[in-house]
């Protein structure tokens, strides 16, 4: 299987651990991942204003780049990129007038966008195209004894037109962890917002959210929280420092990308995990569980 791939800005720097482990896991599962050779920023957040078509053009251009490659599917790992690309695509498909105006604006593009590219998240590729059975066969190092709280955040499950699973009780991450040999825990906060971009302006709010979310995971006996969004990862991991200052009874907890857990179970070496990018160390937990 061959798939066009949109990395997004953050997977190329702060979240190299996400990208490297995703590419490794995809390779092990027989998926050839081809990065778009001329991708641009997705816009980061989907524009909510009814009259703001201008800001839908950036995500749509990436779909044109996919079409230029003769491909009709674009895979991305970053939850925010996924949500923005998927919703822009939905708007283009659902509203012919909007699409025509966007194409008019992109007069420098040799071909119009016709709404014919599907935006896929890595987890959808894993579940729907590769399949959990095929993954089970490739597991060489089961995540035995690792208790994982699966955290979806907002962008994978809301709104409906971008949701990869049930909005209130998604299961895809739990199913994946089970296939990898780990133990998913019941987790009340799996779709509770981490505070998102408030981390720039009001990190103390994000620290409160981190306290609540990781506290709920801890209460269920989780060893770690698995995420799919580099912003959730930053807030839940790096903001633990601020959380400790505000909440004296806070217990730190390592945060992991679901793709890192895939890479470990599929036989990846430490180099694809990029443990140096974590704030609360993940290494000691993995060593303790015999996974490193």
């Amino acid at each position: 299987m061959k798939l066009s791939y949109f990395p997004g800005c953050t997977l190329k720097n702060h979240a190299r651990n996400f990208e490297d482990s995703t590419l490794y896991a995809m390779d092990r599962l027989g998926v050839e991942v081809v990065e778009l050779d001329r991708w641009n920023c997705c816009g980061t957040v989907y524009s909510l204003s009814a009259d703001d078509l201008m800001r839908q053009v950036a995500p749509i251009r990436n779909l044109l780049r996919t079409r230029e490659r003769g491909d009709s599917q674009l895979m991305t790992g970053c939850s925010m990129c996924f949500n923005t690309l998927k919703r822009a695509n939905h708007r283009a498909r659902a509203n012919a007038e909007d699409l025509a105006r966007m194409n008019d604006f992109m007069y420098d593009e040799p071909v119009d966008y016709a709404g014919d590219v599907d935006v896929l998240h890595v987890l959808e590729v894993v579940r729907d195209q590769i399949g959990f059975d095929a993954i089970r066969e490739r597991v060489v190092k089961p995540l035995e004894g690792l208790r994982v709280a699966c955290y979806y955040g907002c962008m994978l499950v809301r709104p409906n037109e971008a949701a990869i699973d049930d909005a209130e009780n998604p299961r895809v991450l739990e199913d994946l962890i089970t296939v990898l040999g780990g133990e998913p825990v019941d987790f009340s906060h799996k779709t509770e917002c981490c505070g998102a971009h408030q981390t720039v302006d009001k990190p103390e709010i994000v620290a409160d959210k981190t306290y609540e979310i990781l506290g709920a995971a801890k209460a269920q006996g989780a060893d770690t929280v698995a995420v799919s969004c580099p912003l959730c990862a930053f807030n839940l991991d790096h903001r633990q420092e601020t959380t400790l200052k505000i909440h004296a009874d806070f217990h730190t907890m390592p945060v992991v990308y679901f793709s890192q857990l895939m890479a470990i179970a599929l036989g990846g070496s430490e180099s694809v995990l990029r443990l140096d990018l974590h704030h609360t160390p993940l290494g000691p937990l993995l060593v303790g569980k015999g996974l490193l």
Binding site: G8, C9, T10, N13, H14, A15, C41, G43, T44, V45, L48, S49, A50, D51, C78, M80, C154, R158, P159, N160, A167, T191, E192, C193, G195, A196, H197, Q198, T199, V200, D201, K202, I205, K209, P230, L231, F234, H238
Partner: protein, 135 residues
């Protein structure tokens, strides 16, 4: 908070502007409060989401455009998903931010972000923040 309802405010055009920018019908809201009940930011807001909607129905422009709450909403979409009337509250709050931003009244002063934060905070957070808080 005490507010005074008047025909002038209701007919001022603010309500229509918010609805137009959001492509939503404010009047569909019947104040069940489900949006505020599930809002992860409600605890920090000076005006919770259901009250923002009520004030917008009544044309309370000054109260809404000077409140902190419109800047606390992070568009997590929990309210939109749970509203029994299908009102997209996040879009309505976005339109209130837009009314400020489109007159160049930025909420975030980018030049005040420290060098250390610019380095440490991932680009999606910085860009997301600028998209939501600056014109």
């Amino acid at each position: 908070m005490t507010v005074f309802v008047s025909r002038d405010k209701i007919n001022s055009g603010f309500t229509a502007k918010v609805q137009r920018l959001a492509d939503q019908n404010l009047m569909a809201c019947y104040q069940c409060g489900k949006c505020s009940a599930g809002c992860p930011m409600a605890a920090y807001m000076d005006i919770p989401p259901n009250q923002m909607i009520r004030l917008a129905q009544l044309g309370m422009e000054d109260e809404l455009l000077s409140c902190e709450a419109i800047w606390l909403c992070v568009s997590c979409m929990t309210c939109n998903m749970r509203c029994p009337k299908g009102v997209r509250i996040a879009e309505l709050i976005e339109s209130m931010r837009q009314i400020k931003l489109r007159t160049r009244q930025d909420h975030l002063q980018v030049e005040n972000i420290s060098e250390a934060d610019l380095r440490a905070i991932p680009p999606i957070a910085l860009i997301g923040s600028m998209r939501k808080f600056t014109s």
